[in-house]
């Protein structure tokens, strides 16, 4: 047999591609992963841009990685080490702050400083969100059904979905129906009164989403981020020792152990299709590999508008992929620091707050205005930031005594008027640093290096269309059986033997491994 022939070729070594490869190899397939960059991970990477400083240039935290993926691939044995973030610190405009602590009473005390009523409501809120998340979690592991189909497989899954909704108590069913269709801000208004608490809680509704917190549709995104669990604890974010790149490394190691061949510096130029059937891939250097099954970890637009020639696809499907919304609101900024910044709002004795996530989200209006600035093709004059100092959790991330700070920043349009350029990047980078310095005045004096990944950079460097970290917006019309296209949401495509396993498919973005795992099961359904 020609050594260039495999059972399965996975295009792209992102975390979902690696998960997909690992599951298929464990099922006995001969799998080859082709990664265009010099290392695997895709958007789940750690990069040493400046000597000694490890930057999280795209994804930065782990929360939604499915426990079943961790256990089934034995990722802990392969070196995955998750360190749950212990706190959330959100400074407010008046120099005050609000915080979450691991200790429940400490958290209630912090909230009560802003509103006694909110402190009381907080427990019920947490219980309710956990109940909803638990209830709908089974949907994450499902191969979405085609609601227009009467095939046994689809009817069976639809019955399962019905069962999930059926088991909800009445008030939870109504709450879910409303949460799915309302805005994150409106939902939180029903629970809390303190602007500071609402500001920081709302952020889960807008992360990676080009909508303001007051726009219906963000309620679902809020819930999406509550589906995260680390060791069974919901809504906990964890830092992976070595950065998110270590997550990919662990999955890659599990994949290799299962027999997967991983080839880096192997950019795929084209999926080879012969009379409607995918038969292999051609690399940019001309090399060709054949396989019975081709799986694309790339986003839907890149896969079907770049890697596949249009004549192989039905017009209807092409239309769906072209209209798939994928405009990104997010930039990633990394700072190399000479020491720890001093956030003036942090009182003596509470410096431990620097070890958690730092949210620049002082109020819902602040976030909404940031969206207003960006939504017509601009960027926020006062951006929302989800910050982290990884070097406090893992000293290996920076040279001794030095630190790295990772900033997830919204909003800055991927369709920036006039397009992104080096001067514009520098200009927005200053906006970000200036905004953060309002809360930590000594920040600027500590900066050794600063680095920004705009949506444009993320597209150039990692190949994500429009730099969209979720491979497509989590808009209601792009979820579940509509992601990325009705009738083609089950990881299969109009081209026989070509499959999708990236975040353009259900259940969408974040480091979940779910699309990769679900896609593997879909493939094994067809090719046991």
């Amino acid at each position: 047999m020609n050594t260039h022939h495999y059972d399965v070729i996975v295009i792209g070594g992102g975390h979902n591609g690696l998960v997909n490869a690992a599951y298929l190899a464990k099922a006995g397939k001969r799998v080859l992963v082709l990664e265009r960059r010099h290392k695997v991970g895709g958007a789940t990477v750690t990069e040493e841009i400046y000597p000694g400083f490890k930057f999280l240039i795209a994804s930065y935290l782990v929360s939604l990685l499915r426990p079943e993926v961790i256990h089934e691939l034995d990722l802990m044995r392969h070196g995955l080490e998750l360190m749950p973030l212990e706190s959330t610190f959100s400074p407010t405009l008046d120099g005050n702050y609000i915080a979450d602590w691991p200790d429940h009473d400490a958290t209630k005390y912090e909230i009560a400083r802003h509103s006694k009523r909110d402190a009381e409501a907080y427990d019920e809120y947490a219980r309710t969100m956990r109940r909803l998340a638990l209830a709908i979690r089974p949907l994450l592991g499902m191969i979405p059904p085609d609601p227009t189909s009467l095939a046994p497989r689809d009817l069976e899954t639809m019955a399962k979905v019905g069962g999930v909704l059926d088991q909800l108590r009445k008030e939870d069913f109504y709450l879910l129906a409303r949460l799915m269709t309302m805005s994150a801000a409106d939902f939180l208004d029903e629970w809390f009164e303190s602007p500071a608490l609402k500001g920081t809680k709302t952020t889960s509704g807008i992360i990676g989403t080009f909508l303001g917190p007051r726009s219906p549709g963000t309620g679902y995104v809020l819930l999406h981020h509550y589906l995260g669990e680390v060791d069974g604890v919901f809504r906990t974010w964890a830092f992976a020792r070595g950065g998110t790149g270590a997550v990919s490394q662990a999955i890659a190691s599990a994949a290799r152990e299962a027999g997967v061949t991983i080839q880096v510096n192997a950019p795929v130029a084209q999926v080879l299709v012969k009379n409607g059937v995918a038969s292999g891939v051609a690399l940019e250097n001309g090399d060709e590999y054949t396989a019975d099954i081709i799986v694309s970890n790339a986003d839907a637009k890149r896969t079907f508008l770049k890697l596949v020639e249009p004549q192989h696809l039905p017009d209807e499907f092409l239309h769906d992929i072209r209209r798939f919304r994928i405009s990104s609101p997010a930039c990633k900024v990394n700072l190399a620091l000479d020491g720890l910044p001093t956030f003036t709002a942090i009182p003596k004795g509470k410096e431990a707050l620097l070890r958690g996530s730092i949210e620049i989200a002082p109020s819902v209006d602040y976030l909404e205005k940031a969206y207003d600035d960006a939504k017509y093709g601009g960027w926020a004059r006062k951006p929302f930031m989800d910050a982290l100092i990884p070097s406090l959790l893992d000293p290996g991330m920076a040279p001794p005594g030095k630190h790295v700070m990772s900033l997830f920043v919204q909003y800055a349009s991927s369709d920036l008027e006039g397009g992104w350029s080096e001067p514009k990047k520098a200009e927005f980078l200053d906006v970000v640093v200036d905004t953060l310095a309002e809360y930590a005045p000594d920040l600027k004096s500590l900066i050794l290096h600063k680095h920004i990944m705009t949506p444009w950079d993320i597209e150039q460097m990692l190949g994500l269309t429009a730099g969209h970290i979720f491979h497509g917006e989590l808009a209601l019309q792009q979820l579940f059986f509509l992601r990325p296209s009705a009738q083609w949401s089950n990881y299969r495509t109009p081209i026989r033997n070509l499959y999708m396993c990236g975040s353009s498919t259900h259940p969408g973005g974040c480091i979940t491994g779910a699309p990769g795992r679900n896609a593997a099961f879909a493939i094994l359904e067809d090719r046991p």
Partner: protein
């Protein structure tokens, strides 16, 4: 004294429809309208000497089944169609879409050739989706959670209807229901002005911009009740619809009293027993039906202590955010709109030049401010119906969005902003104004007891529709209080004057 077995509070087309059906069924029905006008906020009144205009809504049509059952045309209802919608644009760019789709395609071809061919399939898709809504609107909303066999059959009939569309169309319609108007129109069209015009109906009565999720549902709602791009009113003004319904109800034996506002619904051990009027008069009845919105009903008419805390919380969570102001102008003569002929003036005129324009108008509202460049919708009802103004003179009605309730914006400012905007297209407008009348959401709240001045009894969003309207678990017109029901726009199918809520309430009783 006469004893009534049913008292209806309010006299909107929903209330009068309920009254007529109940009276027809032999019930002794008393309708109590707090204002002096039958129809309340849907009435048409004289606002200046010899000039008559609508108070709130400026268009709408009665559901055809109700019109038939109650023979409203025999009671004097003469519908008037507004068969065109015109986008006012600078530099003679204004264009008009006719309800005749072939003509509309020709009109579009003149300024957006690439979009012309897409208009028909676009409207056909909207038709499918609004047909589906119309079917849902023709039902007492079935419970979606653990439906009984009858409700399950109803839900299945909706699924069957969707399947009938064909596989592709079925999922296309599903997407439509949850999309933002921006996402929808970006998929279909290129020309900014065409997208702006087609998005305008998606934001009517809603404190959301076209970029917001779910705004396509608001468009479909208006299409479904026949109040979409191409609207309808009646000879004598919109109020004539309430008048005809009132005559029908009275013909069946219902009694209607105006200037008789109920202060309180009398409740004894959880059962409604009658009402107390502002005058102090008390009238007893075994059934009270409130045409008011849920918040007014359950905070003003009924004392919250009568209700469970959970229920009261749900009432507080209803979104109103009234942001529509209404202006009526008495005009010396017909204004000259640059580049428009009289036929266009007989239709609806909108200022909605682009999606971004509409979204920007909304941006201010989010922070409680009035936009200097609002969304405007104007009509000149006196063209099709000269009885509304003295000979040769005219009435111009303007619907202004967004005028957020919580902004407490002065009527004068709204008038100023609207005149500024319209004068760009009708330069001689200001000089023609004899008299004007402005109502802001605050006015609707104080004069008509509409919560936060919302004309639809609560925003038409997915989170407040179907089995969630007005309150999850209480979508079938009944309330936690025995003998007290709802029949207004606050209930399914929501805003507008179709009368369907009143009919469903009657059918469910």
């Amino acid at each position: 004294m006469i004893t009534y077995n049913t008292i209806i509070l309010g006299s909107s087309p929903n209330a009068l429809t309920a009254a007529a059906y109940l009276a027809k069924a032999g019930k002794q029905v008393l309708v109590l309208e707090p204002t002096e006008y039958i129809g309340g906020v849907t009435a048409t009144t004289e606002f200046a000497n010899g000039f008559r205009a609508d108070i709130g809504l400026t268009s709408g049509r009665l559901d055809s089944s109700i019109a038939r059952d109650l023979q409203v045309e025999d009671h004097g209802l003469v519908p008037i169609e507004r068969n065109s919608i015109t986008s006012l644009l600078p530099d003679q760019q204004s264009f008009t879409l006719s309800s005749d789709r072939a003509m509309a395609v020709d009109a579009i071809r003149r300024f957006a050739p690439n979009d012309a061919e897409r208009y028909l399939p676009f409207m056909q898709l909207l038709d499918l989706a609004s047909d589906l809504l119309r079917s849902a609107y023709s039902m007492v909303p079935p419970a979606a959670h653990h439906p009984d066999s009858r409700e399950l059959a109803q839900l299945m009939s909706l699924v069957a209807q969707m399947r009938g569309f064909g596989r592709r169309e079925m999922t296309e319609v599903m997407r439509l229901l949850v999309m933002s108007a921006r996402d929808l129109l970006d998929e279909w069209f290129e020309h900014p002005a065409l997208k702006g015009l087609l998005a305008s109906t998606a934001i009517r009565g809603l404190t959301q911009g076209p970029f917001s999720g779910g705004t396509t549902f608001n468009l479909l709602h208006h299409q479904a009740i026949g109040d979409g791009y191409f609207r309808s009113t009646a000879r004598g003004g919109l109020g004539a619809i309430s008048q005809a319904l009132a005559t029908a109800a009275q013909a069946y034996g219902a009694t209607i009293r105006t200037s008789s506002g109920a202060l309180r619904v009398l409740v004894a051990d959880g059962i409604a027993s009658g009402v107390r009027l502002a005058s102090g008069e008390e009238i007893s009845a075994s059934r009270i039906i409130s045409d008011y919105d849920a918040r007014h009903t359950f905070t003003q008419l009924v004392a919250p202590p009568e209700l469970e805390p959970e229920f009261n919380r749900a009432v507080q969570h209803i979104h109103y955010n009234g942001s529509v102001a209404h202006i009526n102008l008495a005009l010396r003569e017909l204004p000259r709109f640059v580049g428009l002929d009289t036929s266009a003036l007989q239709g609806t005129l909108v200022i909605a030049p682009s999606l971004a324009y509409l979204e920007r108008a909304f941006d201010n509202a989010k922070y409680g401010q009035l936009s200097e460049q609002p969304y405007l919708e104007a009509s000149i009802p006196s063209l099709a119906d000269p009885s509304l103004a003295p000979a040769g003179q005219h009435v111009l009605s303007i619907w202004v969005q967004y005028v957020p309730y919580r902004g407490k914006i002065a009527a004068e400012r709204v008038l100023e902003v609207a005149l500024n905007q319209l004068s760009n297209y009708a330069p001689n407008l200001r000089g023609l104004v004899i008299a004007s009348q402005v109502r802001t959401p605050a006015d609707y709240a104080t004069q008509f007891d509409l919560s936060e001045g919302h004309l639809y009894g609560g925003e038409m969003t997915l989170a407040q529709a179907f089995f969630l309207r007005p309150i999850p678990g209480f979508a079938q017109y009944h309330t936690p209080i025995g003998g007290l029901d709802l029949c207004g726009a606050a209930t399914h199918p929501g805003g507008g004057i179709s009368g369907l809520a009143g009919k469903h309430m009657w059918r469910d009783s």
